[in-house]
C-alpha cells in the first residue's frame, strides 16, 4: 500500500473536501469576512484533514502488513478468514465474515475431492488385489498345462498357445502392477520396508520372472551384482522389471544385457546396460517425463510413457539416483545410484 494508492482510494473524499472548502470561502466572502480569516480557516482545515489522512494511512498500512505477514506464515492460505486480525472497522469485519464463508465452502469442496480420491484409490488397490487372483490362476494353469503338454502327446500347437497365454498374462500382470505402484507412489512411506537387499537376488528373480519373454526374444543376460544395499526389495524389483521390459521392447537383433554393480565412494551403482536401439540425444533428457513416448515409443508401438516416469518417481521417493546414458543405435545404460549413509555403513 503506497501513499499514492492510498490517496487515489480517498479521491472522492478529497474532492468533497475541496468542494466544501470552495463553498465555505464563497460563503465567508459573501457574509463579509476578510481574505485572511478565510485563509486561516482553510489552512487549519487542510492541516486537520492531513493529520486525519496520515493517521488513517498508518492504521491501514499496519493492518494490511499484519494480514500479509499471516499469509506468509500459514501454509494453507485458504484458511485466511479464520486468521484475520480483529478490526474496529465495519468494512473489515464484513469482509472477514464473507471470506470466512467463502473459505468454508472451499474447505468443504477440498474435503469432498479428497474423500472421492481416497475412495477411488482404495478401490483401485482392492481391485488390483482382486485382479491378481485370476492372473495367478491363469499363470498356474499355463505352467501346469505346459508341463503336461511336454510329457504327453498333446495336440499340435497346444504348448505354444499356452506359452502365448502365459506371456500375455505376464504383460497384464505388469500393467496391473503399474497401476498399483502409481496409486501408491504418493505415499511411499506407508509401504516400504528398508532392509539389507542382495541386488543379485532381485535381479535373478526379475529375470526368471520374465524368462518366457526373454527367451522368446533371444536375450542373453550377464549378471554380476555382488553388492548389498539398504532399500525396499519390492520397489527395486518393480523398477528393474520396467527397465528390463524396456530393454526387451527396444532390443537389437542380438540382445545382450549386462547387469552390474559398482561401488564408489558415495554409494553403490547398479547399471543395466543393453545393446538395443538406444535413445536419440535430444530425447534423452525427457524419457523420465510422464507420458513421453518419443520416436522409439512411436516406432515400436505400445508405449504408454508411464514405465520410466514411475521409475523416476519411485527412485525419488526412495532416495535413489536415476539417470540414463545412451548412444543412438548403440544401446542404453540405466544407472541406479544407491547412496550410502555414513551411519548405516558397517565398514
Amino acid at each position: 500500500m503506497t501513499v499514492k494508492n492510498f490517496l487515489k482510494d480517498r479521491f472522492l473524499l478529497l474532492i468533497l473536501h475541496i468542494v466544501c472548502m470552495c463553498l465555505l470561502t464563497v460563503f465567508l466572502r459573501l457574509t463579509g469576512y476578510g481574505m485572511a480569516a478565510a485563509a486561516l480557516i482553510l489552512i487549519f482545515w487542510a492541516l486537520i484533514l492531513t493529520v486525519g489522512l496520515c493517521a488513517a494511512y498508518i492504521q491501514r498500512r499496519g493492518y494490511f502488513r499484519e494480514v500479509e505477514e499471516i499469509l506468509e506464515k500459514v501454509d494453507q492460505r485458504y484458511l485466511l478468514g479464520e486468521l484475520l486480525p480483529d478490526s474496529f472497522r465495519l468494512e473489515d469485519r464484513l469482509y472477514r465474515e464473507m471470506i470466512c464463508r467463502s473459505n468454508k465452502s472451499v474447505i468443504e469442496r477440498i474435503r469432498q475431492i479428497e474423500d472421492a480420491q481416497r475412495a477411488y484409490k482404495e478401490y483401485i488397490e482392492s481391485w488390483v488385489h482382486e485382479a491378481k487372483a485370476p492372473i495367478t490362476s491363469i499363470g498356474l494353469v499355463c505352467a501346469n498345462g505346459r508341463k503336461q503338454a511336454g510329457e504327453k502327446e498333446a495336440p499340435a500347437g497346444a504348448k505354444e498357445a499356452l506359452q502365448t497365454i502365459a506371456l500375455e498374462n505376464q504383460r497384464l500382470e505388469n500393467y496391473v502392477d503399474m497401476v498399483l505402484y502409481y496409486a501408491r507412489s504418493e505415499q511411499v512411506w506407508k509401504d516400504y520396508l528398508i532392509q539389507e537387499t542382495d541386488i543379485e537376488e532381485v535381479v535373478y528373480e526379475t529375470l526368471e520372472k520374465n524368462r518366457l519373454l526373454m527367451i522368446q526374444n533371444r536375450v542373453r543376460a550377464e549378471v554380476n551384482c555382488k553388492e548389498h544395499v539398504y532399500t525396499d526389495r519390492k520397489w527395486i524389483g518393480f523398477i528393474l522389471n520396467q527397465m528390463l521390459l524396456n530393454s526387451v521392447k527396444y532390443k537389437s537383433s542380438h540382445p545382450v544385457f549386462h547387469i552390474n554393480t559398482e561401488r564408489n565412494k558415495d554409494g553403490v551403482l547398479l547399471i543395466l546396460g543393453d545393446n538395443g536401439v538406444g535413445i536419440l540425444p535430444e530425447e534423452l533428457s525427457r524419457i523420465f517425463e510422464k507420458g513421453f513416448t518419443g520416436s522409439n515409443g512411436r516406432d515400436y508401438g505400445r508405449s504408454t510413457g508411464m514405465g520410466l516416469y514411475l521409475c523416476r518417481k519411485l527412485c525419488d521417493k526412495l532416495g535413489i539416483g536415476l539417470r540414463a546414458e545412451s548412444e543412438y543405435g548403440g544401446g542404453t545404460r540405466m544407472i541406479l545410484e544407491f547412496p550410502i549413509s555414513n551411519y548405516i555403513n558397517r565398514s
Partner: protein
C-alpha cells in the same frame, strides 16, 4: 513330503494341487475352512501354504492358532503386497511370504528352501547319473567315461543335468533354455548350441562320440 494348502479360490487351489503333485509332493487341499487350524494340526503336514484372505478367518489368526500347537513351517500366499502385511506375517510366525501372482518355479524353489531349512535337507538329490556308460558327477562337476574324466563349466553341467534327468526322451531347446534360466544362467538359443558343441568336444576327448543325439525340431536326447 506332505503339504497342506489353504486357499479359498477354487481354480488356484486345483492348479496349486496339480503343480505340487507334479513336483512329487503329497497334497491336502480342503474346500471347507471351518476349524481349519484343527484340520491342519490333525493332518500333521510338513509344510502349510496359507492364504491370508479367507472367508472365515484371517490367515494370520490361523497361523497364530497353529503355532500354539506345532512348529510346522508356514508360507503365506497372498495378493496383498503391503509391507505391513508382510511384517505381520513374519511376526505371526510365518517362514516365508509370497505374493500373488507367483511363478510356478519360484514358488517351488521357495517351498524347497523352507523345507530344506526346517528339515535340514533330508531329501538328498542323487548326485550321479549314468547313461550308456557315461557318468555325470554333479558334486564333482565332471563327466566320467571308463576311468577318464573331463571338467565341466557350471552352464554345461546344468544343461547335462536336465538331459540326464529326462534321459531317453527328447528335450526341446526351449525347455533347455528355460531350465537354464530357472537356474540363473541367462543364455539365448545360439549360446545353447555353442554349449552343446563344446560338450560334444569334451565327450570326444574322453572317447564318447554319440551320447547326445540331435533331432531337428525336437531337441536333444541323452
Amino acid at each position: 513330503m506332505h503339504i497342506f494348502v489353504v486357499e479359498d479360490e477354487p481354480v488356484i487351489r486345483r492348479e496349486l494341487k496339480a503343480l505340487l503333485e507334479n513336483a512329487m509332493y503329497q497334497v491336502t487341499a480342503p474346500d471347507v475352512f471351518a476349524d481349519i487350524a484343527v484340520q491342519i494340526i490333525e493332518s500333521r503336514p510338513d509344510l502349510v501354504l496359507l492364504d491370508v484372505n479367507l472367508p472365515e478367518a484371517s490367515g494370520f489368526d490361523i497361523c497364530t492358532r497353529i503355532r500354539e500347537e506345532t512348529e510346522v513351517p508356514v508360507i503365506f500366499l497372498t495378493s496383498r503386497t503391503d509391507s505391513m502385511d508382510e511384517l505381520t506375517g513374519i511376526l505371526k510366525g510365518g517362514d516365508d511370504y509370497i505374493t500373488k501372482p507367483y511363478q510356478a518355479p519360484l514358488l517351488l524353489a521357495r517351498i524347497g528352501a523352507v523345507l530344506k531349512r526346517t528339515k535340514g535337507g533330508k531329501d538328498k538329490e542323487s548326485t550321479q547319473f549314468t547313461r550308456r556308460g557315461v557318468t555325470l558327477d554333479i558334486s564333482g562337476c565332471r563327466l566320467i567315461f571308463q576311468g577318464q574324466s573331463t571338467e565341466l563349466t557350471k552352464n554345461e553341467m546344468k544343461l547335462l543335468h536336465l538331459l540326464f534327468l529326462r534321459s531317453g526322451e527328447f528335450v526341446s531347446r526351449m525347455d533347455l533354455v528355460e531350465y537354464l534360466w530357472e537356474n540363473q544362467i541367462f543364455i539365448d538359443d545360439n549360446t545353447l548350441s555353442v554349449h552343446v558343441t563344446r560338450i560334444r568336444e569334451k565327450l570326444k576327448n574322453i572317447g564318447v562320440s554319440d551320447l547326445i543325439e540331435t533331432k531337428r525340431g525336437m531337441g536333444y536326447r541323452v
